[in-house]
């Protein structure tokens, strides 16, 4: 056996969708996490309930890199239909575990192959036939644990968590794990070099998916109204609200401070949220690309009539139905100018699970302060995969409810106010809420042209004045939105701009570029649009700026080019989307290629 490789490899499990393998895969992931080893898990699943091949990749990285890798050192094959592909995917020198009832030949001799008597082990236990297929997945958990060294106590802990302490399923699954591990100890000879050993690098961290984090953040942001329509990959966001709202937001007398409505479609979902937002509630909806397309007309109204509402877009691959179960950053330009006519939308760009939580509450502050729709662009990778993360932090600023006039305020003003007057010169007007009993409070909101007092108007000057004020408001927005975050290296002349879930791959690539290629880079991760002033400074102070993103057309590159036309020649687009989360390898190679192309052009 070659030299031991410890805590630095990837495991991919190929199973049949709907076979219950998720429990087994997350059990491995969680056990490794509890061993203190940095991990990430990526579920590559089909748009299907049962039957099609599905893969789950766990990356184990002692250095804490959690981006996807293209290499698979260990592959576990449970699905005859993907056996050939799974076998081909194993890295030379890697290990291949396969269910021995798959009667296919092992056609490679550059790997180590381990048969697993899955059916035999399951049959040896007194397990109801209806559960056998589900529990069968625990066989590979057990065999793998024996062969690479996963702590059984941590597996127990993971099962305990998964089954919420219910002893029967815990015991049934754990027994199979132990039995399979014993079988492996007696029957398999370790010939591959891959091992895990305990570390202390996950202390104090938690594991969560972005959609759960977003929902929890919204709850701490005081969300009061949620209307939604099921769509992959956003459904679990609203479902998490359903799950956590009743415990976190029920009064002592059992009365609710919130309402969740499953709408008949996305048109109604956004309509209800806009109605509630206009009514003074912290209102939101969550959706993905196709739903967003349907919401466009209403979003234009909310922009123009200035209604606070939060829209979570958990991005998947478009256009059209596209690839519903794959990840993308392809909705950016669409959302940016969503609506007909002149529109500019406010966008938040969370780059981690923790930021999903943070932007969950911040989005409401921004929406109410700015009286506008606020879009939070997450994606499938961030939203649906499990990530290790710092624990969620309690909001560190009080709620910002924006400019709302109460009965007392109107009394002081002697009723003299106008819904769309720019009193403070920041483009943000004042509003009143339905139920306000002051005689001067009510106004008639409309999507048609309106003057400062919300009255219908077709007057050209009034129209222009209003549209210019909206433009000013969009500039004001900058000061209320999260600033970009820089990861700089001393002396770097090359800049990278990116956003969202590409963060991990870029940080890993930055280190590889510096260590292996002597290319130093500064990385600015954008967190909001309109762009903060720091973005301009960053572009100004770098020779080239590579704009990296998961879409075909370089959408962020387009927006930056429009916003900073003067620096357009410095901005180089690196854009690619095949539905998979990006790898550090892609980032590194793309940048190296562009650097050398540019060097040639110069010489």
């Amino acid at each position: 056996m070659s030299e031991r490789i410890v805590n630095d490899f990837s495991i991919t499990v190929g199973t049949v969708n709907g076979s219950g393998s998720q429990t087994a895969n997350t059990t491995i992931l969680r056990a490794l996490f509890k061993m203190g080893i940095p991990i990430s898990g990526k579920n590559l699943f089909p748009s299907n309930i049962q039957g099609l091949p599905t893969w789950y990749t766990i990356r184990i990285s002692r250095d804490g890199f959690i981006a996807r890798r293209e290499e698979h050192e260990i592959v576990i094959a449970m699905n005859p239909n993907s056996f050939a592909r799974d076998l081909a995917d194993v890295m030379p020198g890697g290990a291949f575990f396969y269910a021995d009832d798959i009667k296919l030949d092992i056609t490679r001799d550059d790997i180590v192959a381990y048969p697993m008597p899955v059916k035999e082990i399951v049959r040896s236990q007194d397990i109801p036939s209806s559960l056998r297929d589900l529990v069968a997945n625990m066989v590979y958990v057990g065999i793998l644990s024996q062969m690479i060294g996963i702590d059984h106590a941590k597996i127990k802990q993971a099962l305990d968590f998964h089954f919420k302490g219910r002893q029967k399923p815990i015991d049934m699954n754990y027994n199979v794990v132990k039995l399979a591990a014993n079988w492996a100890a007696e029957n398999l000879e370790k010939k591959d070099p891959y091992f895990v050993e305990p570390l202390d690098k996950t202390d104090g961290m938690v594991m969560a998916d972005g959609n759960t984090a977003s929902a929890l953040g919204a709850i701490y942001g005081g969300v009061q109204f949620v209307s939604w329509y099921p769509i992959t990959p956003a459904s679990s966001l609203a479902e998490s609200l359903h799950e956590y709202l009743p415990t976190l937001r029920k009064n002592d007398d059992g009365k609710h401070t919130f309402a969740v409505v499953q709408a008949e479609d996305e048109l109604a979902a956004i309509g209800m949220a806009i109605g509630a937002g206009w009514g003074g509630l912290r209102a939101m909806t969550s959706t993905s690309g196709p739903g967003l397309s349907l919401m466009t007309e209403f979003v234009g109204l909310a922009y123009f009539a200035e209604i606070p509402v939060v829209v979570w877009d958990v991005q998947r691959v478009g256009p059209s139905t596209g690839m519903p179960t794959r990840t993308s950053q392809g909705d950016l330009t669409f959302v940016h100018s969503m609506g007909h006519g002149d529109t500019e939308q406010i966008i938040l760009l969370p780059g981690s699970v923790n930021e999903c939580f943070e932007f969950g509450w911040r989005a409401f502050d921004a929406a109410e302060r700015l009286q506008a729709p606020v879009f939070v662009l997450s994606d499938l990778d961030l939203g649906m995969n499990q990530w290790m993360t710092e624990p969620f932090k309690y909001p560190d600023t009080p709620m910002d409810r924006g400019k709302v006039l109460s009965e007392q305020d109107l009394e002081k003003l002697k009723g003299d106010w106008g819904r769309y007057r720019d009193v403070d010169g920041d483009g943000i007007p004042y509003r009143t809420l339905p139920g306000n009993t002051h005689q001067a409070a009510p106004y008639f909101l409309r999507g048609t042209g309106h003057n400062e007092n919300a009255r219908y108007s077709e007057d050209p000057d009034v129209w222009v004045r209003n549209m210019e004020r909206l433009k000013k408001k969009y500039q004001t927005a900058k000061q209320y939105l999260p600033k970009p975050i820089a990861h700089n290296m001393a002396g770097a002349k090359i800049g990278i701009i990116a956003f969202g879930s590409t963060d991990a791959a870029i940080k890993e690539a930055q280190q590889q570029l510096a260590d292996d290629h002597k290319v130093k880079t500064d990385f600015l991760r954008l967190r909001a649009i309109p762009f903060a002033d720091e973005v301009k400074e960053f572009i100004e102070t770098h020779d080239q700026v590579y704009v990296l993103e998961m879409n075909r057309d370089g959408q962020m590159h387009q927006l930056l080019t429009l916003a900073f036309t003067k620096f357009a020649p410095k901005l180089v687009s690196i854009a690619f989307n095949d539905g998979l989360p990006p790898t550090a390898k892609w980032v590194r190679e793309s940048i190296l290629e562009k650097v050398s192309t540019l060097a040639k052009e110069v010489s």
Binding site: F161, V206, M207, L216, I219, Y220, G222, Q224, F225, S227, L248, R249, N251, G254, K255, H256, T257, A259, V261, A263, E264, D265, L267, A268, A269, G271, M272, G275, A276, W278, G279, G280, L281, E297, F298, L301, P391, F392, K393, Y394, M399, G415, D416, W417, G418, L433, P434, G435, N436, T437, H438, Q439, P442, Y443, F444, R446, G447, N453, A454, Y456
Partner: protein
Amino acid sequence: MATNLPMAGTTANLNSIGLSKNDYRGNPSTLCQGCGHNSISSQIISACYEMDLAPEKVIKFSGIGCSSKSPTYFLNRSFGFNGLHGRMPSVATGALFADSHLRGIGISGDGDSASIGMGQFKHAIRRNVPMVYIVENNGVYGLTKGQFSATAEVGLRLKHQGTNTYMPIDIAWEALVGNATFVARSFAGDPKQVKELIKAALGHNGIAVLDIISPCVTFNNQDDAFHSYSWGKEHEAPLHELSYVPPAEEIMVEYEEGEDKEVTLHDGSVIVLKKLDRDYDPTDRSAAIDVLEEANSCNCLLTGLIYVEPDKPSLTDLYELTDKPLNRLEESDLRPKPETIKEINDLMF
């Protein structure tokens, strides 16, 4: 918004909350002279005034079209939301959660509700959104100048459009099969009935669908057109004579024991239905189905309260909301306490 508001209390005729009818008026109508919608607006004003309803306690909603413009022409002292074509129901659904003590009046048309808005119309009904949902039904698109709407009868002839060959959608039918808890049909040319039905609808806890035939004097008022004044006047066949009696008020209308019918609404108000030439019980669902079937073949405009189910919980009842309106809750009510964050982190892994 203090400008252009009517002066309160300038006339001697004040209701019990000290408001005059002027306090319920809106801006001057910009719809055509004689438009049925204006007549309905007037009855909304009268109904709210006579019911002593504070205008600030009402929210007006509408979509797009002639009918949807009309909320500008009544209740200037109410909040209003003029939204998108066919999407009034969803906006109302969300907004009524903001303060469930407010009453919603939605104004839509046959173009707005029976075509693009059909889905939202049906789903608002299915959810029993607590609002009055008036469809000002004239069988024609007015604002785009005279195209057929989905409620136009087969054989209707319109200038520039030819003859309608499609079957009409029946608003009251759709409401009834969608499990609406209050369904009525009326005629803008019968203002007294319109007013009493609006009052009853405002007293109802849940969705109250009023399909009001409201003639378009410009594009669809030919004598033989189903949605015209003359046809309606000649063919109206009321199911009963209807009066609304507010809660805790003695029933003063002439009342014949065993002959007339009373329906007590959720808030204690009573609808008294004086028998005309038939026995009709609007709480009987199968009778309602029969009468609508009859209405389609009788060559008449059958009007009145078709169906009511007073005690079904409304949408907001089902949510067990705080007594304090949701839109008056503060940070201390809405943000979980700091100590909960540890519990939440422990719930992760």
